[in-house]
């Protein structure tokens, strides 16, 4: 597939066309900041953003998702599997870090026994990325095998040039969106290449990723875990804003005789996450929970899926109320004996 160009002045027209066919989600400026949400018209969209406050995982793995409805009439249970949505979804303006997280989520939710709900949404969703030219101080994608122009997990990537958007189609599914556009010229390709190099240069790795897995393999009983967790207040900001965190809980919500089985985001930071009915808790304190968070992201997921569970988006760094910085945690572990 050839790279394409779209004149900047034609972007809104392009998006408007998409809105007719898809439920389009894009960065929107709201009171709480710039968040990814559904747009009904292009005016809602805000493209001057570093990254959105929420990650796009909520469109594939919603914070609360109904698995099925049921009714308990006279001891019979009627289960209605929820129906498929007709209109397809399109996420526009996804940063490459969030795209990479989707590639990781795909491994967890589509491999082995596929997760029916994730699969349904994933198949129904096109993901168009926007290359990242304005990294924040909290960004560290290049430290975790990602990059500001990475195409992993995306169906296409837009790169903002001076006059045009340079478009890299990645998967076949998005081809038809771009057929009517001009092919990119040699100059466009060169300009995009230059931007990519500059962006990557600005993001010097903050730790040596290749050393991490081996270090963590022998670090389960490292005394450093005693210190890392101490200021953590056990909230769920880091895990809920994380584009790669995907742990969930399953609960029943009923009103009278009717109800739904729902799955809700859960967090390894919450004490109840692993609590048995017998009250035994294998991860009894925040020490074990932080160890799990780091091990899961940088060791276990790597072992099981080949990918890290951290994409360097920096949201947990920016929003942690006690500045418990995962970059520092990793550096401290690497430096520990």
């Amino acid at each position: 597939m050839k790279s394409k160009v779209l004149a900047k002045k034609d972007l809104l027209k392009f998006i408007n066309k998409l809105i007719k066919e898809y439920d389009v989600f894009a960065p929107v400026k709201k009171e709480e900041g710039i968040v990814f949400s559904k747009i009904d018209k292009t005016d809602d969209m805000c493209l001057s953003y570093s990254n959105t406050k929420n990650s796009v995982k909520e469109f594939l793995l919603p914070q609360s998702e109904k698995l099925f409805r049921f009714a308990k009439k006279e001891n019979t249970n009627e289960i209605t599997d929820l129906k498929e949505k007709k209109r397809r979804s399109l996420l526009f303006g996804v940063r490459p870090c969030d795209g990479k997280a989707i590639a990781m989520l795909d491994k967890v939710f589509l491999e082995n026994i596929p997760d029916a709900y994730y699969k349904r949404r994933r198949k129904n969703t096109l993901i168009i990325g926007m290359a990242c030219d304005t990294p924040l101080q909290t960004c560290f994608c290049t430290s975790v095998e990602g990059g500001p122009f990475s195409i992993e997990g995306l169906d296409a990537l837009f790169v903002e040039l001076k006059e045009n958007y340079f478009i890299i189609p990645v998967t076949k599914q998005c081809e038809k969106l771009f057929v009517h556009l001009d092919n990119a010229s040699q100059e466009d390709i060169k300009e995009a290449e230059k931007l990519k190099k500059n962006a990557e240069k600005r993001l010097k790795p903050v730790f040596e990723i290749k050393d991490i897995k081996e270090k963590l393999d022998g670090a389960f009983d490292n005394p450093i875990w005693e210190e890392i967790h101490e200021k953590c207040i056990k909230c769920g900001i880091c895990t809920y804003l994380c584009p790669a965190c995907h742990c969930f809980d399953i609960q029943d919500e009923t009103v009278g005789e009717e109800g739904c089985r729902v799955r809700n985001w859960d967090s390894c930071m919450f004490p109840k996450f692993t609590m048995h009915a017998s009250s035994h808790n294998p991860r009894a304190t925040q020490k074990e929970r932080w160890r799990q968070r780091i091990m899961h992201k940088f060791n276990y997921l790597r072992e099981n899926t080949g990918m890290y569970g951290c994409v360097g988006c920096g949201r947990c760094v920016e929003y942690c109320p006690v500045n418990l910085d995962i970059r520092k945690v990793i550096r401290d572990i690497l430096e520990s004996k």
């Binding site: 709201k30 009171e31 709480e32 900041g33 406050k53 929420n54 914070q63 609360s64 101080q137 909290t138 210190e227 101490e230 200021k231 207040i233 056990k234 909230c235 769920g236 900001i237 809920y240 804003l241 809980d249 609960q251 919500e253 729902v262 809700n264 967090s267 919450f270 109840k272 760094v317 920016e318 929003y319 109320p321 006690v322 500045n323 418990l324 910085d325 970059r327 520092k328």
Partner: protein
């Protein structure tokens, strides 16, 4: 200056084994940031700092601790400490309070937090040692009816709204909530062993992110703060979604101060309004 003094005090406390740990602030990893730290080794006291980014309410780390603690406390931290002592969450004898008169804390853009702007207790109300000179308190002017206008301005404006407008505001603010529990967990007086939203038998609150579950949680939490919230701002500071939680907690605080003449966290020996009954207690709100 204050940094050096705090370090000296902490070193002495640890060296003389008067405390097991000093809870204070160290330099954060982001520009314009400070982060809570726990110092146990006298050789590490140099990590301690003091600047206008030391916004966390460190009293949050105290409930149910068993060790002896040196704690750095601003005015608001000290008031929360008073509440925790009143509520038997920590013993006065366990604490060595390093009080610091505070000129207000700033956000990362160096702007004073709005809860600091109306603070009336910049100086710690309880301490074992004071670092630096006391600062001038900013007592808001008293309104003829006894209300303080600058402090309650926002709440009074809100009170004038119709019930449906109030509810609309509540819904629009709380619809941003992602149920991360940061407001609850950052709050020094939210220390229940098992919060009502986590209880499963019976389950009081739905588990989903629908608005009614979210509102139920916040209303429950806010009402539970009556007579206990010191308006330290820890909840809004922690909230990643910029929810105006103080709009609701302040109403509770105002009612405590105006109806019961009780200002939270000033005196260990004065009973909080919900822990006592007086014959002349206001009953105006019972209709």
């Amino acid at each position: 200056m204050k940094t050096k003094k705090i370090q000296d005090i902490a070193r002495k406390l640890l060296k003389e084994k008067k405390v097991d740990v000093v809870i204070g602030f160290e330099k954060g990893t982001l520009p314009s940031s400070a982060t809570p730290c726990f110092i146990r080794n006298p050789d590490e006291v140099d990590r301690l700092i003091w600047n206008s980014f030391c916004g966390n309410n460190l009293a949050n780390y105290l409930p149910k601790r068993k060790d002896k603690i040196g704690i750095v406390a601003k005015g608001c931290d000290s008031r929360s400490i008073v509440v925790l002592i009143q509520e038997n969450q920590i013993k006065r004898e366990q604490l060595y309070i390093i009080g610091i008169p505070c000129d207000g804390m700033t956000d990362k853009n160096n702007v004073l937090h709005d809860y600091c702007l109306i603070c009336e207790h910049k100086n710690p109300v309880i301490y074992d040692v004071l670092v630096g000179e006391k600062v001038k308190e900013n007592k808001a002017q008293r309104h003829p009816e006894g209300l303080r206008d600058t402090k309650w301005q926002k709440i009074e404006d809100f009170e004038k709204k119709s019930s449906s407008d109030k509810w609309k505001y509540l819904e629009s603010e709380l619809s941003k909530c992602i149920r991360c529990n940061a407001c609850r967990n950052a709050c020094p007086t939210c220390y229940c062993k098992e919060c009502f939203i986590d209880q499963e038998k019976p389950r009081w609150v739905g588990t989903t992110n629908n608005l009614s579950d979210i509102i139920f949680f916040h209303l429950g939490r806010i009402f539970h703060q009556a007579g206990r919230c010191t308006d330290c701002g820890a909840c809004v500071r922690a909230c990643p979604m910029n929810i105006d939680l103080r709009q609701f907690t302040q109403k509770i605080t105002k009612d405590g101060e105006t109806l019961f003449d009780y200002e939270t966290g000033l005196d260990i020996d004065v009973k909080p309004p919900f822990a006592t009954f007086k014959e002349d207690d206001s009953e105006d709100f019972i209709k």
